[in-house]
Amino acid sequence: MYEQMVKIRYYEDQMAEVYMEGKTPVFNIGAGTVPGEMHLATGQEPAAVGMCVHLTKEDTVTAPHRPHHHAIAKGVDLKKMTAEIFGKETGLGKGKGGHMHLFDPAVKFSCGGIVGAGIPHAVGAAMTSKMKGKDSVAVAFIGEGAANAGSFHESLNLAAVWNLPLIVVVEDNSYGISVSKKASTSVASNDLRASAYGIAGAYVKDNDPIAMYKASEQAVARARSGQGPTIIEIETYRYLGHFQGDPELYRDETEVPGLRQLDPITKLKMMLSEAENVSDADLEEMETRAKQQVDEAYQFARDSSYPQPEAALEDVFNS
């Protein structure tokens, strides 16, 4: 988990830098190495890692528009993922999807740019698992803003009625773009809504990776053994804006530095070296390995070619 968290953080830190290449001096969102919007997940690593460590390649994950931490934790091909974000032909979608639309069927991962839209897809995957008599599960990661969308309620009701192996992980980073959770959500936490569907709910405080690990372990076991869906809400923190370039006029300047002091990676590192007696050398080895993989992925993306323009006409239909 530590290595994965470091990998995600390092990946996102690199992305924040690369993203600005070619966009200055006047910010041009469509220009540069990485075009388009960029939603980074710095600070939200515990949700992805605490859950995905319990999943295999056969389990399905759907993620929202802020998907890198889930993708990395699920084991999406890092090189192809980065190439996709760069708009290269070697990318997961040959440069047709970009950062919000990553699809890696090899590890059953997908994400998308429409809030709440991935939840029913996870229902479909959970349904398939049940129909085929398998014990695989489906996990839909969403932001707390999506919990107010119709797809959330329809999907959870359906999954409950059909007793499907579905887990919805709600990452509460306090904001749906700029609107605070307090102003948009009628309940203190979305796990409370589980009772509305007659399913299990769990709440994870303080962006705690260990608590997330435990809550996820239970939810996955429940789903695998045919005991139905779970909603897990995790209190997490978004250090950066909704997208890169977000002026963040909606939050107090002191908020983020305060959050950074509670950083989950630092906390986990301290815990590992104190309680688990993991040596500094071990930790360093994990960090080096993670960073090396990320560096290789970025290099691969840089070295790859852009697609031929005519390739835009392909892949509408499978023949």
Partner: protein, 333 residues
């Protein structure tokens, strides 16, 4: 001899027998057999594990069909009336229609979304539209609209076997339902065995030399009716059943106007920005110099479908309006 709905149900049933990954989900498609009878008898044969009644949650169950298709299943899902697309269009056009493309072809969605279209039974603006163009306009889904039981069966088999998302629009009037006006064209000889009809070919249903009339579903039948009357007056109309809206079969249309040199397009959808404009533009671009008269079109005159019978009959094109229009085109020429 089968009605339209039985032909569809037979196609689904045979494909479910052949392929265990095929299943059906939607509102009232189980015990009820589908509001328009398209899934009659399936639950008795295949049980509730493969014929799943859903709550009124189009976003969830159409989205679930997408998720299941991505996992290698072949779901058939029903949007009860096409008019209801508003509650779930994100799943249809942002998800179902785009995932294959955005994944660079790495994700396949072999699914069928079937839906009832058409007026004629006085159910007003939220239950009587065809909306052909809305779906055909957006890339990434095949859109078909068969007009008779033979094609309903053959095209359904093709749609189920196709590796792409197919929107299968069936017309209420052509289902042969007991609670609607009984039309002869809703009953047809349908072979018992499974067969396929291509999803990209129009069909010339009546040959003629003087004018080409392109129709879809009920409009094809009305065009044939009008053509029979015109024939008595020495005007021989060629009638094309468009059948497949996306992809559209340009060749059959062009070939026909090269023979007849005149064109009338008839649509049960709205006039502006619709299928009539699309077919007209194709002919204008590719066979303009073949034409001996301006291209004409008849469609719903850009009003929602009204309730009262006199009003509905006024806005939906019928054999009379087609007949009158052709007469005028021929006289002007």
């Amino acid at each position: 001899m089968l009605t339209g709905n039985k032909a569809m149900a037979e196609a689904i049933s045979q494909e479910m027998e052949n392929d265990l990954t095929v299943f059906v989900l939607g509102e009232d498609i189980g015990k009820y057999g589908g509001i328009f009878g398209s899934t009659q008898g399936l639950i008795e044969k295949f049980g509730p594990e493969r014929v799943l009644d859903t709550p009124i949650s189009e976003t969830a169950f159409i989205g679930a069909a997408i998720g299941a298709a991505a996992e290698g299943m072949r779901p058939i899902t029903e949007l009860m009336f096409v008019d209801f697309f508003g509650v779930c269009m994100d799943q249809i056009y942002n998800q179902m229609a785009k995932i294959q493309y955005m994944s660079g072809g790495n994700v396949k969605l072999p699914m069928v979304l079937m839906t009832a279209v058409g007026g004629g039974y006085r159910d007003a603006g939220q239950h009587s539209q065809t909306l052909y163009a809305t779906f055909a306009h957006m890339p990434g889904m095949k859109v078909v609209a068969p007009s008779n039981p033979y094609d309903l069966k053959g095209m359904m088999v093709s749609a189920i076997r196709d590796d792409n998302p197919v929107v299968f629009m069936f017309h209420k009037s052509l289902q042969g339902l007991g609670w609607m006006e009984q039309l002869d064209v809703a009953v047809d000889h349908v072979p018992e065995e499974a067969y396929t009809v291509p999803l990209n070919k129009a069909k010339v249903v009546r040959e003629g030399k003087d004018i080409t009339i392109v129709g879809i579903q009920m409009m094809t039948h009305y065009a044939v009716e009008a053509a029979k009357r015109l024939s008595k007056e020495g005007i021989e109309a060629e009638v094309i059943d468009l059948r497949s809206l996306a992809p559209i079969d340009k060749d059959t249309i062009i070939e026909s106007v090269k023979k007849t040199h005149r064109l009338l397009v008839v649509d049960e959808d709205y006039l502006s920005y619709g299928m009539t404009a699309e077919v007209s533009a194709i002919v204008a671009e590719e066979a303009f110099f073949e034409m001996e008269a301006p291209i004409s079109r008849i469609a719903i005159p850009d009003v929602p479908i009204p309730y009262s019978g006199v009003l509905e009959d006024f806005v939906i094109p019928g054999p009379n309006s087609i007949y009158e229009k052709v007469k005028k085109i021929m006289e002007d020429a």
